[in-house]
Amino acid sequence: MYDLINYLWETGLNLLFSPEIFEPLVFPGLIAAFSLLIVVIWLERKIAAIIQMRYGPYYISRHTEGALQLVADLLRFLFSEVIIPKSVDKIAYVLAPIILFAFTFLPIVVIPVSKDFAAIDHEYSLLIALALMTLYSSFLLIVSWASNNKFSFIGGLREGFLSLSYEIPLIISALSAAVLFDSFNLIEIVEKQAAMGWGIFYNPLAAIVFLVVIIYSTSRYPYEIAEAESEIVIGPFTEYTGILFGLGMGISYIKLYSMSLLYAVLFLGGWEPVVWPLNLHPVLPGIILFIKAFIIVAFSVFLRAVYPRYRIDQALRIAWWKLFTLAFLSLLFSYGIKIIEVMG
Amino acid sequence: MINPYLYLLISSVLFGIGVYGILSKRNMIRMLLSAEILFNSALLALVSFTSYTKNVYGYFLVFLAVGIAAAEVGVLVSLAILLYRRRGDIDVMEVDKLKG
């Protein structure tokens, strides 16, 4: 009996710490993403409050500056009733945000945590992550259509316009990083960065374009056009209540998180440097990756406090004129660096 | 390993569905969608032949086909939008009454 329990415990532990389960469920996946969600939304409110000389979240857990506010909000979302209005298309109204949420999580599965710890170590893992990211906008369109509401429909159309314009700079700037390190495999890219130096120093242009695209595509502030609160309530999720609204609010943050992880891997050296206490187990270098991604997330969230919002035509002009040109220039820049390397 | 013929079978069934759709619908958008199904079936057949014969040129043909399909859809959809703006209707049987 004791042996059996011991055996089950051992295999269970092995199963939990195998990358195929640990990565989607625990570390860069669900649990880490949810805890980041709770911290980041609190941080966003607090930063905006400090800059505007207010208190911000304050009443729940007063001694820790209201850090538990988001936990309270989450509980409230969980237990409040899900009201499904009469005029909506019921199946799409309920299913679409849930499928959207699941699809926003998918790119995280491809992103490696360290050299020996990746759920999917594929030759083209960078491309797989990008391909899974492009599915986001179509599900958001379905969400906005199903609500049968003027505001959510306008929000969905805005997101559609934006997505048609940001996808090309996103892919080209990621490809210029791939050209620079001569590989589509994210693990190899980080290994090359450990030998050569971070990507942001080699090709700052691509890094800037990718950062702007992150802010652009997850509707953070200067480009917060699809969810503009002062114009169209909250965009595609206007009609939602309860836990479905909670999902909708979380989706753009999860997307921000997965894109920031990709940014940290491509331009900020991933999990390097691996110093002493971190090389004990292959999961531990992921902490550095997480910290780098968190800095990007915190930066994009901080922009809410300092920028006004662009109009949609201004944002589209920026995407097609400036970002598109800069992305192409960054690709040429990468090829130039490769040529110099070959010549010298 | 899956028998390569199964892919071709699926592709032909898909082609039949697309042909049925394009024959039985009169709405322009629906005909466009059926044509896209035909394209998908052709692409599947092309890919399975490429994979079966391991011919590298098939790769480039598929890339070309997908890229051209993207452009073609842009043209067709904008045609449909123009037609809709002009007539408020996208019935194909009415298109031959267009003048000017």
Binding site: I120, E123 | V13, I17, E36, K54, A70
Partner: protein, 168 residues
């Protein structure tokens, strides 16, 4: 690293799932009344097709299909369809005849493909990533399974929610 031995042949399961998704959503594209749903199921057709490409060992083509066809082209169609009013349903002309023509063409193609497939066992140069999907499926099958499982549980959750609303 532990080895996982599946009782179910996972490659065949993925093949069956994606083939069923492909054919069912193709029928739905044609038969559903709402244009928006039809465009959405066209997207599912593209997605299932990409999975079939990946199963045949052409991962790069599958990714390309996902980015260019599903991510851009069909999203563009969906985006445009959203702007049309829902058209009134039009009665088809000769439904049975059309069905017969479709089935006949499908049968002809299947027979033709079978004869070609029997004739040509020519093997050219081995392409680069033919063995990759087997590797994915054998080594990382569990991750794929988990993803499918998560999607399935969310679907069941959603169905429960929807049913509760209908009954009240």
């Amino acid at each position: 690293m532990i080895e996982f031995n599946f009782l179910i042949p996972i490659e065949d399961t993925i093949f069956l799932f994606s083939a069923a998704l492909l054919l069912i959503s193709a029928v739905l594209v044609i038969e559903l009344r709402s244009h928006v749903y039809a465009a959405f199921f066209l997207e599912m057709v593209g997605l299932a097709n990409a999975v079939l490409f990946a199963l045949q060992g052409l991962a790069l083509i599958a990714i390309f299909q996902l980015v260019v066809y599903v991510g851009a082209t069909v999203t563009f169609i969906l985006f445009s369809v959203l702007m049309f009013k829902e058209a009134k349903p039009v009665k088809p002309r000769f439904k049975l005849l059309d069905l017969l023509i479709g089935a006949g063409i499908a049968g002809l193609l299947a027979v033709g493909a079978f004869s070609i497939y029997k004739v040509s066992p020519t093997a050219g140069k081995p392409s680069l990533d033919v063995t990759l999907p087997e590797k994915i499926v054998s080594e990382y099958g569990l991750a794929l399974f988990l993803v499918f499982f998560t999607l399935l549980t969310t679907l069941i959750e959603a169905l429960v929610l929807a049913r509760r609303e209908v009954s009240s």
